[in-house]
Symmetry: C2
Subunit: 174 residues, 2 copies
DNA sequence: CGGCATGTTTGCATTATGCAATACAAATCA
DNA sequence: TGATTTGTATTGCATAATGCAAACATGCCG
């Protein structure tokens, strides 16, 4: 392993307070992942997380071709291809020949696919809402603002070293 | 300890404020997962996320047998078995025959395995710290408290099977 | 038309996973 | 103590997710 020096290090290594924040974030992120997995499992036992992500992309962005679909999921076309085949076989997707361009094929959700997405999404939001509901109300508002600030701060393109698409063990990126 | 609702309603009401919180949480969670994937990829291209999780479990909980290891990762023994084989082949794990009980085998990290875990963990904490550092300081403290309340509200482990946190806190797992 | 770019498929290899069956070892029972 | 049951590890078999490279198909240009 190349001990490549990490480019971004704009902050002091061991600041007690910063450590506290980082730990809080990491802990919360673990909970969030667990919630997602649970919600999905409760709706569709046979659906994997990558498959669910594909349905979600099609649901929120509308029909698109295999390559673009793969791009949204950070996988190469061949992977997207096989996933589409499986989900088509499961009745959740359908392929539509694009009349204007015969080398592209539009992939779209079927009614069944949309049903699954909606059910899982509702379930996840409900689970998160349940957890939030168990928080002291004062913390709820603080959470919204703090998370917004956090998301905003993290939105910036990852400093340097963005070039590599970074090999994908990257599952569960709902 | 906050007044965590003893009987959380299984169905959450969809009032505007709750929706806001849920949306903020979902948005932040996407960012967190992306950060995790990036950090791992930047340290070890050949390591998958499940493999990394296995190393982390062994790092934070110490050596254990295949079955328990699988339990911590939510996979069945055969899956854990094969993962151990691969990671052993990669020089990150080693098997130790248990003298007191010949039907169990202890799996432990090698120095190389520990190095990988530490590097990836440091990298991830650094990335999060970078994001947090870009937040207004006032929001930082609010974030800690709010996330703690959130994690606590959602911490409903089936059993209390967590031993004392062996090392430097933060058993963030993946 | 001929080459280049864009998209889709296939072939091949590896990892992750679950289920079922097997092989041992330890514990329990009759 | 010998037979049965239980706990672990391991192997066989099957499917999904992935990447890379190569084979095709189609659209565009000069």
């Amino acid at each position: 392993m190349p001990e490549r020096a990490p480019a971004p290090r704009p902050d002091a290594p061991h600041d007690g307070e910063a450590d506290e924040v980082v730990t809080a974030v990491l802990t919360a992120s673990r909970l969030l992942v667990a919630v997602s997995a649970r919600s999905l499992a409760s709706v569709e036992e046979t659906l994997t997380l990558p498959q669910f992500r594909m349905l979600v992309v099609l649901s929120t962005r509308g029909p698109m071709n295999i390559s673009r679909l793969g791009t949204h999921l950070d996988v190469i076309p061949s992977t997207a291809m096989r996933m589409v085949e499986r989900l088509t076989g499961a009745g959740m997707l359908e392929r539509e020949l694009n009349p204007g361009n015969r080398r592209e094929i539009l992939i779209r959700l079927t009614a069944e696919g949309r049903r699954v997405v909606d059910a899982a999404t509702d379930r996840r939001r409900a689970e998160i809402a349940r957890i939030v509901g168990a928080m002291p109300p004062a913390h709820r508002t603080a959470l919204v603002e703090a998370l917004r600030a956090f998301s905003e701060a993290g939105d910036e393109p990852p400093v340097a070293e963005q070039a590599a698409p970074a090999r994908t063990g990257t599952d569960m990126r709902w």
